[in-house]
């Protein structure tokens, strides 16, 4: 397959000088590396070895390195100037028209530089990931596609993930597909990489164990979530040191692989390794890693609850309830006289119970629809109700704390607005509308909560509020 593509690309660029070529395929299917290798092969490193009649140069511009459209254009001009050995001044390149002019000038000079026949000189301009270009001018792609019409000896190669239909606004552009790797291909490629801690028993053993290990990883993890070669390799290399730990310890030998596998079963059941995180939380090779991760995640939420003051926690709870409860149910949940009704709510009757997935027109759970906007006043009303509720168990605990709470009540509302502003600056609450429109603490400004259900539940427990009681569902 690769050979096919190789031949194909080769033909497109060399034998038949197309103006535009599109290479497309999913991530990590070798588009960039193949085109780079091929072009490197086609364009000789130095002048001496090149055929005089046929010169191909290439410039690769990676869109991910360019922060704006203009950056891309400037970079393109600079690259081309570098490639063709342009001595003159490089003009500013603010827009596409200037790019065309500059490139035209450079290539014109380049092709007429030598005395001999200039027909063979060609420039291949590779735009890697051009479909992900930030702040690209709207006509960037069609304009680049017309480069070939204006400048005769240029071939533009676009590397894209999934081309939109007719995205160049030009019919008949050859598209070359890079299909995703199949399982055998993936395993074969992985087996070529050398695992970093080698086994003490030797290279051969290492290779053997590595290939079987990678198969196990593929079957248990990568097949399901990270299928492409890069993340597959990453997962393998992350798990490998822990996988061979028993061997290094001397507790197990590499030969019965199944025993090794059983010993490391937990490694393949844990999906924490698939979640990218900056903090390298490599769980120690123990069977208790599940518990550990739970603790870790708890620690994260605990961190939030621990760091926020009591009032802010209550405010966040109120914001969550305001976001996820429809306003019309407020009267049921939060009216002072409705306490009894609320209590009743717990036991559902046979009539109300539903089996999910049976009816054709299921009700979408409100929780799933995401947070809705609410006005600050509504949140404050809920907050006041919650504060009372939260204080109930504490009263039972002891009078002293209760007194403290009372004092807070007395202090007034200025702190509340402060807390809201803090939460908003922490991005736990999100203000809707334009960033600077209106007063952030205006009673009618609209907010939305930005924390999820699991966080809120633990928050609620930390202040003694069962959030489920207040959720309309």
């Amino acid at each position: 397959m690769l050979l096919n593509i190789n031949v194909n690309v080769h033909f497109q660029i060399r034998a038949a000088p197309c103006r535009n070529v599109v290479l497309y395929g999913l991530e990590a299917t070798g588009k960039s590396s193949i085109s780079k290798a091929l072009l490197g092969q086609l364009s000789p490193a130095d002048e001496t070895t090149s055929d005089s009649e046929d010169q191909l140069r290439h410039a690769i511009i990676n869109s991910t390195e360019c922060v704006s459209g203009r950056h891309l254009l400037e970079k393109t001009v600079a690259e081309v100037a570098n490639i063709v050995g342009w001595q003159g001044k490089i003009g500013r390149c603010e827009n596409l028209a200037q790019l065309v002019v500059e490139l035209g000038k450079m290539l014109d000079r380049w092709t007429t530089l030598d005395d001999h026949d200039t027909g063979g000189k060609r420039l291949a301009l590779v735009f890697d990931g051009i479909d992900r270009q930030r702040e690209a001018p709207p006509t960037l792609l069609p304009a680049l596609a017309r480069l070939g019409e204006i400048i005769p000896n240029i071939t533009v190669i676009y590397i894209v993930t999934s081309p939109r239909p007719n995205f160049l606004h030009l019919p008949g552009v050859p598209h070359i597909h890079f299909p995703a790797y199949t399982k055998p291909e993936l395993l074969q490629i992985i087996s070529l990489t050398e695992p970093t801690p080698q086994l003490p028993t030797g290279k051969h053993d290492t290779k053997e164990v590595w290939s079987r290990f990678s198969t196990a990883v593929y079957e248990s993890l990568s097949k399901h979530s990270d299928r492409d070669i890069i993340s597959f390799r990453r997962v393998c290399s992350r798990l490998w040191p822990r996988f061979i730990q028993p061997i290094l310890d001397g507790s197990l030998s590499p030969t019965p692989f199944s025993r090794l596998l059983v010993a490391n079963r937990s490694l393949f059941q844990n999906d924490a390794v698939l979640v990218p995180s900056i903090i390298s939380s490599l769980p120690t090779p123990s069977t208790k890693s599940n518990i550990q991760t739970q603790i870790q995640s708890q620690a994260q939420t605990q961190g939030l609850t621990a760091q926020l003051p009591h009032t802010s926690r209550l405010l966040l709870l109120a914001a969550y309830l305001a976001s996820f409860n429809p306003p019309r149910t407020d009267i049921i949940h939060f009216m002072k006289s409705a306490t009894l009704r609320r209590k009743k709510k717990g036991g559902g009757t046979a009539l109300t119970s539903k089996t999910p997935g049976v009816s054709k027109n299921r009700k979408i759970s409100r929780k799933l629809l995401g947070p809705q906007a609410f006005v600050v006043e509504r949140m404050l009303a809920i907050f006041h109700y919650l504060r009372e509720d939260a204080s109930v168990p504490r009263k039972q605990e002891g009078r002293r704390r209760d007194g403290m709470e009372r004092r807070e009540d007395v202090i007034g509302s200025a702190d509340l607005y402060m807390a809201i502003a803090t939460l908003s600056s922490l991005r736990l609450l999100v203000k809707l509308g334009a960033a600077n429109a209106g007063d952030a603490l205006d009673g009618s400004s609209r907010y939305r909560v930005a924390v999820g259900w699991d966080v809120v539940r633990s928050l609620g427990r930390s202040v003694g509020v069962e959030v489920e009681d207040y959720l309309a569902d």
Partner: protein
């Protein structure tokens, strides 16, 4: 078919002759009108005369009878008319007899060579007959033979023209009674319909079968039958063959006719009873046959026989009456039949069994009329002539008729010939051969031995690839008129100094740029120094400022304006002012009329519609204004794909536009499309010097071979044609086709020389853009796929087209856990992690990937998103359908396939 074709010729000429006669006969008939038309009219006449119902029939019969009686001088006005007609016919019959005899002499001559004695004898007999008919007719006026003939003719023609069997039947019914009236007593009416029906029935079935076939087909059929008759006469062998050939067409009638044929033979073998029996039946028709047929040949005797057959099917009691009545006439006829003819007939009768009774009886009845309407029209050129070397061929499968040359059949094939529609079924085996590679193998053997084959191949590859990739322009085909228009406009500007503006509108890849560029290069061959060209592209020059600078730059370069001038004009207004000054006529600025002539400038605005989006359309306004106000000789050519582009022009701009348009259309038909595409694959003889350089040994041969090879690919290779068709019917895009041709041409080498269709069809080297996003699916991991399916399911379940991550994940969890429960309850070992519910974070990663692949697209701008929520909180639309997912994945896990199936 070969033996039949001379007969076709013969029929033709005779039909022509008869046509002339007919024109005299019926004044309404237009000269040289198609037989169908004439017959139609006559049919109308007939139906008018015979209004519906039995009374009407009676009336019509009466009318006709009066017409007939008019012959005896009894008729009223109407009758007189018919009488006149009848008289005409009489004369005509006389004429025709002469003509016919002549024509038989002339055209039968080839056949005479084959069987001299026989033909001559037949001719003799016909002559004798023709002589004898006249006296017979005179003495037989009571029987009203000629008139009857006329009616008969009408009836049959009506048959041929009408498609509704019922109608025809009625007409026939009318005539039949009338005919029977000719018989002594009107009481014949009762039995008559029943008497005629057997004859009519097969014909009805036949007509129904061919209900769709037009009158031409009818004609052709009749002609074939006549051919048979004609051919029968000289030698039975020939007729046998022809009848065999026709047998497939008249299959449905085969059974009855064979029965009757057997009966005939029986009659013949019986000897004397035959003639006697025939005589009575011939009462109505045979006699007229005689009258008309005479000249024809022996054939009419068969008709007599056939008619016998028809009657024989009837109850003999019905025949009796007529027998008595017509005995005189037919006996006289029979007596004239030479014994050898009878023998012949007996011999050929069996062969003729294939022929339909209908044909027989009809031709018998019609004889001349059939000649008249016998025109076989070539369906390609509508020509009527069937000359030697370019004869009209008739398909043996359908009723397709065409000239040899029009259809590309150099030699009339032995045996059956089929048109292209009928051929595939019969040539399916050949295609199989092709697929198996035998066809290719044979083709490979005929690479010509040409000097320097490799060099020539390289050269032509180079040339063609340049064309395919757009490095060299191809010539525009089929837009001569448009080209002329554009050429005129540009020329007016360049030579006469006019200001012009024009829009060239056409779809992508239809050749707008090619048109304009070829016009410009055409003009620049003579007048290069008289004009400048400024080319702008709406994609590149995205606002007026940029465009103006570009104009300034291009003009400056061409006009050799000093560089500092270009740099001096830094702002928009300056540029515009200088440019206007440059473009305006000198006299306008200086006020004095100097003799200086401004050079004309041609502006080519590609993607013209994008220029209309520029602020206030300043550039367009100024350009059009200059063009219209004759300030300077400029031509503004706008190229666009949008038909409604003028609507987007501002009023003041629109009023300055000349409203000249040129519309280019894509190829309208497949041959047209091929004509254009062919340029990418062949080099014309005229372009050889330009394209391939100086003549070299073997070049001519190689070119011939190459072009023949490409032609062959189109004409003979069904796979290639199908491939071409797929491009034609999908987008008609020539560039797209060219793009797909690059690889096959580029990878051609002397060893793989005959370009075969498989080079185009191999999917591994496909360079076409993907049809949809579904090509992504095989590369997805199982979690991504499961989430996608869950999201697509929600589409249907919730009846909304949007969903967010939480909803899709919830659905995924419930699906997976349900599956887990099922598998555990049924005791199926849970296969490792296949039933594992992946965590929210992992799933979110998968969800983000789906969004990155654009399988999930954000639903609207305010879709609950905002920058603070990321992909997870945003409402998304699923861009693939649930049923598409199953369709595009072969290795889909059983569970997921089930999820796709069951909601």
């Amino acid at each position: 078919m070969a033996p039949a074709s001379p007969a076709v010729t013969r029929k033709r000429s005779r039909a022509l002759l008869v046509d002339e006669a007919l024109d005299e006969l019926s004044p309404q008939k237009e000269k040289s009108g198609t037989p169908g038309l004439g017959s139609l009219k006559r049919r109308k006449l007939n139906t008018k005369a015979s209004s519906s119902g039995s009374e009407g029939r009676w009336g019509s019969i009466g009318q006709k009878f009066s017409g007939l009686s008019g012959l005896f001088g009894l008729g009223d006005g109407n009758g007189k008319e018919t009488l006149d007609n009848a008289d005409d016919v009489d004369e005509l019959v006389g004429d025709r007899d002469i003509w016919q005899v002549d024509s038989t002499e002339n055209e039968a001559s080839p056949r005479v060579k084959k069987s001299n004695g026989e033909t001559k004898s037949t001719r003799d007999t016909t002559n004798v007959m023709s002589q004898t008919t006249k006296p017979r007719r005179q003495q037989n006026l009571k029987a009203n033979e000629p008139d009857n003939d006329i009616w008969e003719v009408e009836a049959s023609e009506e048959d041929m023209a009408s498609n509704s069997g019922a109608h025809r039947h009625r007409g026939r019914g009318k005539i039949d009674p009338k005919k029977s009236m000719l018989a002594p007593a009107p009481m014949a009416k009762g039995p008559d319909p029943s008497l005629k029906r057997p004859r009519g029935r097969p014909r009805k079935s036949d007509i129904l079968r061919k209900a769709k076939a037009d009158s031409r087909q009818e004609t052709r059929q009749r002609m074939v039958s006549q051919n048979l008759e004609v051919a029968d006469a000289p030698n039975g062998r020939e007729s046998g063959r022809t009848s065999d050939e026709t047998s497939p067409q008249s299959g449905s009638e085969l059974a009855p006719s064979s029965i009757t044929a057997r009966r005939i033979r029986g009659d013949k073998e019986a000897g004397t009873p035959g003639p006697i029996q025939r005589a009575p039946k011939g009462i109505l028709t045979p006699t007229k046959n005689m009258g008309k047929r005479l000249g024809k040949s022996v054939t009419f005797e068969q008709k007599g026989g056939e008619l016998d057959l028809g009657f024989k099917d009837l109850p003999s009691s019905a025949n009796r009456r007529e027998q008595k009545a017509s005995l005189v006439v037919s006996s006289s006829l029979d007596s004239r039949r030479t014994p050898d003819n009878q023998v012949q007939f007996a011999a050929t009768g069996s062969n003729q069994s294939a022929q339909s009774t209908e044909d027989m009886s009809r031709t018998a009845a019609e004889d001349d009329s059939s000649d008249r309407s016998d025109e076989i029209v070539c369906q390609a050129c509508s020509g009527l002539r069937s000359r030697k070397g370019n004869q009209i061929l008739l398909c043996d499968g359908c009723d397709f008729s065409v000239h040899q040359k029009c259809y590309g059949v150099p030699v009339i094939p032995e045996g059956d010939w089929y048109c292209k529609e009928c051929r595939p079924s019969s040539e399916a085996e050949m295609e199989v051969d092709m697929i198996n590679g035998t066809g290719i193998a044979t083709a490979e053997s005929n690479i010509p031995d040409i000097v320097g084959l490799e060099v020539h191949l390289k050269k032509i590859q180079r040339t063609l690839l340049d064309r395919l990739t757009g490095q060299k322009r191809i010539r525009l085909r089929g837009h001569d008129e448009q080209m002329q228009k554009v050429h005129q406009v540009v020329e007016q500007t360049v030579l006469a100094g006019e200001g012009n503006s024009m829009l060239v509108i056409g779809g992508r890849g239809c050749g707008k740029t090619t048109l304009v560029e070829s016009v410009i290069s055409d003009i620049s061959t003579d007048h290069r120094e008289k004009f400048h060209v400024v080319r702008l592209n709406g994609f590149i020059h995205t606002d007026d400022k940029v465009a103006l600078r570009e104009i300034w730059r291009q003009l400056g370069r061409e006009m050799d304006v000093e560089g500092d001038l270009a740099t001096k004009t830094s702002n928009h207004a300056d540029t515009l002012a200088t440019l206007l000054a440059l473009l305006s006529h000198p006299s306008e600025i200086s006020g004095s009329s100097s003799e200086q002539i401004a050079k004309s400038v041609i502006f080519v605005l590609d993607e013209f519609d994008l220029f209309t989006t520029h602020a206030r359309q300043t550039l367009l306004y100024n350009l059009f204004d200059i063009a219209q106000a004759r300030k300077a000789p400029i031509a503004v050519l706008g190229l666009t794909t949008r038909v409604d582009v003028v609507e987007s022009l501002e009023k003041r701009v629109k009023s300055r536009f000349s409203h000249r348009y040129v519309y280019l259309s894509l190829a309208r038909s497949l041959p047209m499309f091929w004509e254009i595409c062919k340029q990418g694959l062949t080099v014309d003889a005229g372009e050889v010097d330009v394209e391939l350089g100086p003549e070299q040994p073997g070049q001519k041969e190689f070119l011939l071979f190459w072009n023949a090879m490409v032609d062959d690919l189109y004409t003979n290779d069904d796979h290639f044609k199908h491939y071409l068709q797929s491009y034609f019917y999908r987008n008609k895009s020539v560039p797209a086709f060219f793009g797909s041709c690059i690889l096959p041409i580029a990878s051609l080498s002397p060893s793989s020389l005959p370009l075969a269709s498989r080079a185009f069809l191999s999917s591994a080297l496909s360079v076409s853009p993907p049809d949809s996003k579904l090509h992504i699916l095989p590369g997805l991991s199982e979690l991504e796929l499961a989430l996608l399916i869950a999201a697509a399911r929600l589409d249907i379940i919730l009846d909304t087209d949007t969903c967010n991550f939480a909803m899709a994940y919830d659905e995924y969890c419930s699906l997976t856990s349900r599956h887990k429960i099922q598998t555990s309850s049924t005791g199926v070992a849970a296969l490792g992690s296949s039933t594992k519910v992946w965590g929210k974070d992992v799933a979110l990663g998968a969800w983000e990937k789906l969004a990155a692949y654009e399988l999930l697209v954000p639903a609207g701008i305010g879709g609950g998103g905002g920058r603070d929520f990321g992909i997870a909180g945003r409402m998304m639309k699923v861009d693939v359908g649930l049923e598409e997912i199953t369709g595009s994945l072969d290795g889909l896990a059983g569970v997921m396939a089930k999820w796709c199936r069951e909601i």
